[in-house]
């Protein structure tokens, strides 16, 4: 790696050649206000002009986020010329920006407000024209409000990089430019999978999850029996909402907080995950034995299910008919649990804390309501919303003691359930149980290393009593497409495929706490490269801590089948735990 000598504010430094001025300055201990750029070049439009500095050899000012350092370059951040230009750029952005900061969901984590503070931008536009505004609130998952958009293009880049989809794009020209789905449609009328990756990179409140916190207040007022469940990935990230280091597992504190928020029961979706594995592994074995449609593909990620329905509507019989874990959990709460506790299912309100925005949509699917039209799950909060709820309730999260989930009926879970939150986790958990079903034995290796890690497509050949079963794992729809095109062409060699919507799996889901380096001064400089692995590690650690690591060895699950469901994939299980899919038109 070659080094170049530069000067910043007159001080000499040696930095790697090829870095942008912004990156180089960061490594040298400077924090140039910057807005549109993100994640070393994932978004490098150089469009917002907030990071302008003076650099020798360039005319005018340069955008430090895209301008590379070169030997002998002298960079000035603090000259009046640069200071004034940065401030005016921010003021211009603010002049075309919704001024209602206190009502914005990004309040507290808004990058525009941060640079406004840094640059001293104060001027408010009272008279000038504004770009015509679109607010799309039709989707249950994501709100798009163009009055807050700064046209950085991060969302466009993320949708493209993660999924190869480009659901979002620039529209119109000049002052009328906006970002949106084609024809400025709602996400609901576009082939958007609602994964929320765009939300997680948006610097402002232009893209936000649709908050459902109010529903909890309503349920309380209505005197509902509220059962809350938390997805595995939530515990690996919730601490970040309260300034804890990325990768700190906070299961105990999370439970303690939920117990102080007035929920009647606090359970772990891991129980649902164990149940999913029971059903899914049995479904897989059934398909293998009875010549069913293979490869079978997991269906716990609602982003992926949306994608399949939009883009592979002709291949939906490959999807496992199993509901996702929190939906199974909700269905069991409103049947088995209600019965055992003498509760009217209509009076039970199931809240899911999820790392995901697509789960908000999923819970509204007609296929996930019972015969009476009662949904399995009533309310989905993202990890971020849980953070809001905890803050709102005056709870000092970091000072909470560690507490245990409720243990009755649906409280036990295994390590297999925990790792659902990482890419490859469902596959690994399913393999543990499928192996057992097929052989009657436990696999000598609990860990299936080949399906771990952040590789886009992972594959493994598992020997089950002399038969080789080929499996593959993909996350992000760009990778899923590769496998799905093989499936469609009939050339797929796999028996079982796990697909997760978000790259990295649920730990990096669209509902997880924002990872914005500018707000994380105590994290490493390369945190955007490492946070997925750190959160994943927190879950793998918890898996290893569990004494029981196979879903079929969960005694409450065994009890549930014995007392209520009967056989896995049996009649009652089918009624409560399985669902169906339907192809959807991309533009209606």
């Amino acid at each position: 790696m070659s080094l170049v000598n530069i000067k910043i504010e007159g001080h000499p430094y040696q930095v790697e050649a090829g870095l942008t001025i912004l990156e180089a300055a960061k490594r040298c201990g400077y924090d140039i206000p910057s807005l549109c750029a993100f994640n070393h070049g994932e978004c490098n439009q150089g469009s917002c002009r907030v990071c302008l500095v003076e650099a020798t050899g360039a005319r005018g000012l340069v955008a430090s986020c895209v301008y590379p350092v070169s030997e002998g370059m002298e960079i000035t951040i603090s000259s009046p010329k640069a200071v004034q230009a940065r401030r005016t750029s921010v003021e211009l952005l603010l002049s075309n920006h919704s001024a209602w900061c206190q009502e914005c969901g990004k309040n507290g984590s808004c990058e525009l407000l941060r640079v406004a503070q840094m640059t001293g931008a104060r001027v408010i536009n009272k008279e000038g024209a504004r770009t015509p505004v679109t607010v799309d609130e039709l989707s249950p998952s994501i709100i798009r409000d163009t009055s807050k958009c700064i046209l950085c293009g991060r969302c466009i880049a993320r949708c493209q990089n993660a999924h190869g989809l480009s659901v979002l794009g620039y529209e119109n020209r000049g002052f009328n430019t906006i970002v949106g789905p084609a024809e400025n449609r709602s996400f609901m009328d576009s082939p958007c999978i609602l994964c929320g990756q765009c939300v997680s990179v948006c610097p402002t409140g232009a893209l936000l999850e649709k908050s459902e916190i109010w529903k909890i207040d309503e349920a309380k007022k209505a005197g509902k029996y509220i059962v809350v469940q938390t997805a595995p990935a939530v515990r690996a990230a919730l601490g970040e909402e309260f300034g804890m280091k990325i990768g700190t597992p906070v299961t105990g504190k999370m439970v303690a907080a939920l117990k102080r928020l007035g929920f009647d029961k606090v359970y772990d979706t891991n129980f649902g995950a164990d149940l999913t594995i029971m059903e899914e592994a049995n479904e897989l074995v059934g398909r293998i034995k009875n010549g069913g449609v293979l490869p079978m593909i997991t269906s716990c990620s609602p982003g992926w299910v949306n994608y399949a329905e939009y883009y592979y509507g002709d291949q939906l019989d490959h999807l496992s008919s199993c509901k996702s874990p929190h939906e199974m959990f909700g269905a069991i709460v409103k049947s088995y649990f209600a019965e055992k506790n003498g509760l009217n299912p209509k009076n039970i309100f199931v809240v899911s804390i999820m790392p995901c925005t697509a789960k908000k949509f999923e819970k509204e699917r007609d296929q996930l309501k019972n015969a009476d039209g009662l949904p399995d799950v009533d309310c989905v909060l993202t990890t971020r919303e849980l953070g809001d709820l905890i803050r709102r309730s005056g709870i000092n999260f970091t000072k909470l003691p560690d507490e245990e989930f409720d243990q009755d009926l649906l409280g036990e879970y295994t390590g297999a359930g925990v790792i659902f939150g990482v890419t490859g986790g469902v596959m690994e958990a399913a393999l543990r149980t499928a192996y057992h079903i097929l052989t009657g034995k436990e696999h000598e290796l609990v860990k299936f290393e080949q399906v771990r890690g952040l590789e886009g497509i992972k594959e493994a050949a598992i020997d089950i009593d002399g038969t080789t079963v080929n499996v593959a794992v993909a996350h992000g729809m760009k990778n899923a497409k590769v496998l799905m095109d093989e499936v469609r062409a009939g050339t797929s060699k796999y028996t079982f495929i796990e697909i997760m919507g978000c790259p990295g799996g649920c730990v990096a889901g669209g509902g997880q706490p924002y990872v914005k380096p500018c707000f994380l001064p105590n994290e490493d400089i390369d945190i955007l490269d490492t946070y997925k692995a750190k959160r994943s590690a927190a879950l793998y650690t918890e898996d290893e801590r569990q004494t029981v690591r196979q879903s079929h060895n969960n005694t409450q699950i065994q009890q549930l089948y014995a007392d209520y469901l009967g056989e896995p994939c049996g009649h009652r299980a089918h009624e409560l735990l399985h669902t169906s899919y339907a192809a959807r038109k991309r533009f209606n």
Partner: protein
């Protein structure tokens, strides 16, 4: 098929003899030549040409007189033009009904049709030959070589008029020698920035890689500039030749013309020229047996001014929104499809064949120390001779406006000249004796741009002019970067406020801040220069801004809110024509009869007046004024 330089030389000799014969009238033949530029075509020059052919056929003259079309004469305000060889008589503003007279009188009778000759506005004398017209006297045609002389739809005429001789010489040189020749000639980009063309070529030459591209920027968009169109319409082969030379120099195999869709004639002629060149082997594989192959493609713009910016243009060719890319990397390193690419504008490439044909010294002998050669300007606005002129760099503004342009019409006073279109600035009369070159214009707060030169007189309000250009930029901003997207909008809002009489003193400071950030902080040249009209009018005409803001007056009586029409009662004959024309019924008769007049004078009710100006243009007695 022409496969060797020898074969081409033979062909050139034949074509050249043929063309010479036409001009010199060999064997007693005469030639009628009609301008086929867009301006003249819109004044029916094609129909006039057909009629000439018809009348000549009818009179049985077709053996003795040929009818031809050529590219733009440049003197568009006097079109359509008709020229008769060998006498070299130039008729201007020819109409369909004039055809028979020209045939009868001139072609048959040998007598000049005096009434169709150009009249020198200064002396009132009739001028027979083009070269004797002041408009043409100081011009030197390098980029416009062949325009208005040869038939652009006939490759033989282009070859007979110097075509492909530059390339033939280039192919005998090494690539580096070709680049050096262009460097020594001192050719700088004619599209706006004035970057040395040879250096651009050198950068691309130095890059490794098999795939390189030459792109010709024909997305001419500065309002008021149309030289690129005229060149493409007048001598497309010259631009193709320039592109092939550039391709040879940097090691490219493909070239792309990016031309505005609004230029259908230029595109058609370019297509014809490419097809003809391909057919006789002057484009394609192994050109002239040199082993060098080059193919030319055409891409059409789709109505976005910003695509004149080279990186936006490349994005457009790549099928994307024409939004500029941050630089570096420069196109010479990573351009079209990430390959090394040079982007040169039409006029620049049109100069290249001349440099290679005549040698760098012939080019460099024109111009100033750092700006060599000639430059084509599109003279427009308040000037007598509207049209295209090509003059050596270093010509003064005075020569351009008065000697060539014939001065300001109606005896009005020169106020300013806007060079460089919406990216440029205005220069006032104290700069009239400044030589025009790239650096001097920048030093004086304007720029060369693509060569638009709009003259303004005392009736132009400079705040309104700044607003006009800002409106244009606002419409054409791609919307990518903040200063250009929002900053230009805010500047336009402030300028509108000022012209409406609602300006406040703080607006000047606000404009200055916006000028600073758009100029220094915008992503591309469009944004960086967007504030130039504001900046330069503020520099030279701050008094006009202040008059609008403080006195609520528009000194040029242009801004409607700040002016009113008034009838000078003592001049009014009371004819009442104005009242009849007034759409708002704002004019009524008074009781006052001016001395020496028979009818009572009229007056305008300022409350009802919509300031359309209909009364003023109706009044024969100049009794209505603006104040």
């Amino acid at each position: 098929m022409i496969k060797t330089p020898e074969q081409l030389n033979e062909k050139i000799a034949a074509c050249s003899a043929c063309l010479d014969g036409k001009f010199k009238g060999e064997e007693g033949k005469r030639a009628v030549v009609l301008c086929g530029g867009t301006g003249c075509l819109s004044s029916n020059s094609a129909e006039i040409r057909e009629k000439f052919q018809k009348v000549i056929d009818e009179k049985g003259l077709h053996d003795k007189v040929s009818v031809n079309q050529v590219g733009c004469f440049g003197f568009c305000s006097q079109g359509p033009f008709c020229k008769i060889f060998p006498e070299d008589t130039l008729y201007r503003m020819v109409k369909l009904e004039d055809v028979e007279e020209i045939v009868e009188k001139d072609l048959i009778g040998g007598e000049i049709v005096e009434r169709l000759l150009y009249v020198d506005p200064a002396t009132g004398e009739k001028v027979q030959r083009q070269d004797d017209i002041n408009f043409y006297k100081k011009q030197h045609r390098i980029a416009l070589h062949g325009c208005g002389t040869i038939d652009p739809e006939n490759i033989d005429e282009a070859l007979g008029f110097g075509g492909y001789q530059g390339l033939m010489r280039a192919l005998t040189m090494t690539r580096q020698e070709v680049i050096d020749e262009v460097l020594k000639a001192g050719l700088r980009g004619r599209g706006g920035g004035g970057f040395p063309t040879g250096r651009k070529w050198q950068f691309a030459y130095n890059e490794a890689g098999d795939e390189k591209y030459v792109v010709c920027n024909g997305d001419e968009g500065d309002p008021g500039a149309f030289m690129d169109r005229s060149i493409l319409e007048g001598n497309p082969l010259a631009v193709i030749e320039g592109m092939v030379i550039a391709g040879y120099a940097i090691g490219a195999k493909n070239g792309y013309f990016y031309v505005r869709a609004e230029y259908p004639v230029a595109v058609r002629r370019l297509r014809i020229a490419i097809k003809e060149a391909k057919e006789i082997g002057l484009l394609g594989e192994n050109i002239l047996g040199s082993g060098f192959s080059f193919n030319v493609h055409i891409r059409l713009g789709a109505g976005a001014f910003v695509c004149g910016e080279e990186t936006a243009l490349l994005n457009s060719i790549e099928g994307k929104r024409g939004m500029p890319r941050p630089r570096p990397p420069f196109p010479a390193v990573k351009g079209l499809w990430q390959c090394p690419t040079i982007v040169n504008n039409v006029e620049t490439l049109a100069c290249v064949p001349y440099i290679l044909r005549e040698g760098w010294e012939a080019f460099a002998k024109y111009g100033t120390e750092k700006s060599k050669g000639t430059k084509v300007f599109a003279l427009g606005g308040k000037i007598n001779n509207v049209g295209l002129v090509e003059v050596p760099m270093g010509t003064t503004l005075r020569e351009l406006i008065y000697d060539i342009g014939g001065g300001i019409p109606g005896g009005k006073e020169f106020k300013a000249i806007q060079t460089g279109g919406p990216s440029g600035g205005c220069l006032t009369k104290e700069y009239l004796d400044e030589p025009i070159d790239f650096d001097n214009l920048v030093a004086k707060g304007s720029m060369m741009g693509s060569g638009g030169a709009i003259v303004m007189d005392e009736d132009n309000c400079m705040v309104d002019v700044a607003k006009f250009y800002m409106e244009f930029i606002c419409d054409e901003s791609c919307g990518k970067c903040t200063p250009c997207r929002i900053g230009t909008k805010r500047m336009l809002e402030i300028l509108t406020k000022i012209t409406e009489g609602k300006g406040e003193p703080e607006d000047i400071t606000a404009l200055e801040e916006l000028v600073h950030v758009t100029q220094n902080g915008s992503l591309c040249a469009l944004g960086q220069t967007a504030a130039n009209p504001v900046k330069s009018t503020m520099t030279h005409f701050m008094d006009e801004y202040l008059a609008h803001i403080n006195d609520k007056k528009c000194p040029a009586h242009v801004c409607k809110n700040l002016m009113q029409y008034k009838i000078v009662k003592d001049s009014c004959f009371g004819c009442g024509m104005c009242a009849k024309q007034c759409p708002a019924s704002a004019i009524s008769r008074t009781d006052y009869v001016a001395p020496g007049k028979k009818l009572a004078a009229m007056e305008i009710d300022p409350q009802k007046c919509v300031k359309c100006g209909a009364c003023m243009s109706t009044c024969k007695f100049k009794a209505i004024i603006k104040e």
